[in-house]
Each structure stands twice: as structure tokens, then as C-alpha cells.
Symmetry: C2
Subunit: 239 residues, 2 copies
């Protein structure tokens, strides 16, 4: 049995705010605290004013093609290792290795005339938050990613501390004793998805969700983090 | 707040079994009943004995390349519209339009020397089950799919009745009054993911999970089903 419950009444977060202090009364050992990346990014000051961005030639060309603000596009390029696709939406491989729209650079719920970036090192952000929270619950930093081949976005884990990213069943057997060949359950991504359902909505101001019932996946060590979920290009079965 | 709870003590399911009768005492209105596709496939007799499959030339060639049983590969081809990739694992577009490994054809938890297929029409299976369950809860039929770019599998909805596949925020506004451009939350996939976490494990024999707390997404009409989640090839932002 699992349970996911949004923390109500959190204040708007600003650069420099102490997230651990805001959450301290709500957490305990064994839980998974799932937090929307925007709150982490805001607390860490990962916000860029559009007025301070000078778009280069590539940004100008892509902006013209897509009908976007070239300064926003420049911010996307600055966060990207690679542009995977530039039809209608920029699909980017971020510096962390994640593949998502606009490298996670987003204007919604951002201060006016600015964009919010993904945390520079979301696993480090998760580890720091975990260390500061009572009970050392697992921490998952989540963002909504689109998917190849399926419509709609699901929340996934972009930063993880203290939760197994994947529950790997390679080599274990099914109920008939037959070996399971390729079952590795993306626990942290599923926890992010479950947490998203517990929010009233993207505009409800409920960025933090407590998931209980996953104690068996919560580890004493912080573990490999969401970096362990990134498929290398050569390893990608789907490309 | 959402809650996901596996139904304990369900018997092994065989072709011809009445799933609604097995589940009737557990369901009520407003819930989402998430059921692993294998149970539905077994009840519907979507099982093929390998001994009865005559592999063709394409199956023989792919089987030799991948080190697989050519009869299994033939079963995969029979369920596929298209082979998307054939390195190490067959990534297929199924006749329903889903893109997944082996077109969902699987030996684990299958009867000996046989393979289990996806339901022929999982949305129809979901609708039929819903109609027969007390309270007409929403029904989601789930399978574990790998993802492009991310390691591990997440459960997703391959059949849906009575649940919004996507909660579409296009045109709505964020908390600052700024229009949200591309937020369409894949509710049914997130429900499938949450349900997967509530199972003790892939071998625990807990194929059915009751999710509560999603009443606002449960609809009186059965709705468009998981077919609405399939991105057309030309619409795919990620390819």
C-alpha cells in the first residue's frame, strides 16, 4: 500500500529560502519527499532574467523557426548538450543527460520576464535537502517530461537521494521459476508520477508531496541518484 | 491525497475466468482499478503455445541475430505493425500503436512453452470489465514499458475505461496568470505507475491495485481510452 499526500499551505519560495526549514515539521524517516524542481530551482536562484540574455545566431535562427523569444531559446541552448529535435518544440539533451522539452527551461510559474532553469546538479540538491531534513527521508526532485510515442507528460525523477532509482529484477525468477530477463522497475520515476497525482493541479501551489509505503526502497546511503537513470546514447534501445 | 492498495489473495487466472466476479467484492464507485494486462490476457485466452507457431524467414533471421527462439519472434511479428529497432531487443509498434519491447509478447508468468500476448483491444477489455464491476469504477489495464533515454520500466495504461487519459491544461493559466502552453498530464499512466509501486513485486501475484483519490478524473462515460495516448508517427516530437 502506498499513500501520497501533498503538503498544504507552503509559502511561495524565493532565492535563498531554506527549503529544509519549510519542510522540517512534515517529514519523518522512511518517507519519500517528492518536490517539484521549480521550488528547488527558485530556492537555488536558478532563474534568469530575459533582459540579461544576449541571443546568439543559433538562438535567433531557432527562435524565428519556432516563433519563440530568442532570449528564451538562448537560455535553452545554454542548458543543453545537444538539440535532439527542433520541430515545433526544442527537444534537448540537458547537461545532466536528460532528454526533455526546452532543456527544462520554463516560463510558467516563473517571476515576470524571467525563466526558471533545472537545478545545476539535482542529485546534489536532493542529497543536501535530505541531510537537512528530520528523519533523513528519501528525497526526489521531479519534473514533468514528455515521452516519445505517448501523448501527455509524466513526472519523473531528475534528482534522487536515498531511494533506489531502479529495482532491478535481472536474474530473479518469476512465479513459475522462469528467469525474468529485463525487468528493472523505475521506482523513483513511479514515485514522482504518484506524487504528481496527489497534487490538486499544476497551479495549486502544492509542490511537495510525501509518499509513504516505499520504506523497502529507502536506503541509508544516498545512492547513485537520478544520474543512474540516464541511458547513454549508445545504449539507447529506442533511438 | 491518493492511496494505492493491492488486492491480496486473488487466485491464478486461467482462460475463460470471469475477472469481474473475482474483483466484485473489492470495488466501488469513484475508484480506479488498475490491473496488470497479463491477468486480462490470460482470462481472454491471449496465450499462444510455442509448439503451434511456424516461424517465417524474417522471424528466423531476427531470432538468429538476437539469440532468441524463432517461434517467439514470430509471435512478436504477428502482433507488430512495425519493428522500430532490432538491436539486442525488438522494439515494436504494436497493432494498437504502442511502442514497446517485443510488442508486449512475454514468457514470464506464462504457462510453460507458451507466450502471453497483449489483449487484442485493451480499451474494449477495460470497458467490458468496468461495465461488470459494482459501482462502475474506472478501469486501467497496465503493462511495464521501457522508455527512450531513461533506464528502467514504468507501468503505463494500455487500456482505459472511465478515466481521463490526459488532464489537458492547454490554454489554462499558471498562478501568475501566464498561459500554460503545453501541460497535459498523463493521468492514466501516472495511475498505472502509482499502482505498480503498491505491488510487493513482479512475482508477488498481486496483479490488481485499487487507487483512490482520483475521483475528479473518473468520468461517467468510458471516454477515448488508451488509444488517445498514442502519438501518430508524424506527430512524434521525439523521433
Amino acid at each position: 500500500m502506498i499513500n501520497a499526500r501533498a503538503i498544504e499551505g507552503l509559502p511561495e519560495v524565493h532565492p535563498g529560502d531554506d527549503l529544509a526549514a519549510l519542510l522540517a515539521e512534515h517529514t519523518e524517516a522512511g518517507q519519500v519527499v517528492v518536490i517539484a524542481h521549480k521550488v528547488v530551482s527558485k530556492a537555488e536562484g536558478r532563474i534568469r532574467a530575459l533582459a540579461g540574455i544576449e541571443p546568439g545566431a543559433e538562438a535567433e535562427a531557432l527562435a524565428a523557426k519556432l516563433g519563440k523569444d530568442p532570449r528564451h531559446v538562448q537560455a535553452v541552448l545554454d542548458e543543453s548538450l545537444e538539440i535532439v529535435r527542433d520541430e515545433r518544440v526544442l527537444i534537448c539533451r540537458t547537461r545532466h543527460g536528460f532528454v526533455c522539452a526546452n532543456a527544462g527551461v520554463d516560463q510558467s510559474n516563473a517571476p515576470a520576464d524571467s525563466v526558471i532553469l533545472l537545478p545545476a546538479d539535482p542529485d546534489a540538491s536532493a542529497r543536501a535537502l535530505r541531510a537537512a531534513l528530520p528523519g533523513r527521508p528519501a528525497v526526489v526532485i521531479a519534473d514533468s517530461f514528455g515521452r516519445a510515442w505517448r501523448l501527455g507528460q509524466c513526472d519523473v525523477a531528475i534528482g534522487i537521494a536515498g531511494l533506489a532509482p531502479v529495482d532491478d529484477w535481472h536474474g530473479r525468477v518469476d512465479r513459475s521459476g522462469r528467469r525474468l530477463h529485463a525487468t528493472a522497475i523505475a521506482i523513483a520515476d513511479e514515485a514522482a508520477a504518484a506524487a504528481d497525482l496527489a497534487r490538486a493541479g499544476k497551479d495549486a501551489g502544492e509542490p511537495v508531496v510525501i509518499v509513504s509505503g516505499l520504506e523497502r526502497f529507502v536506503t541509508d546511503e544516498d545512492g547513485p541518484g537520478a544520474a543512474a537513470l540516464v541511458r547513454g546514447r549508445d545504449d539507447d534501445l529506442f533511438l
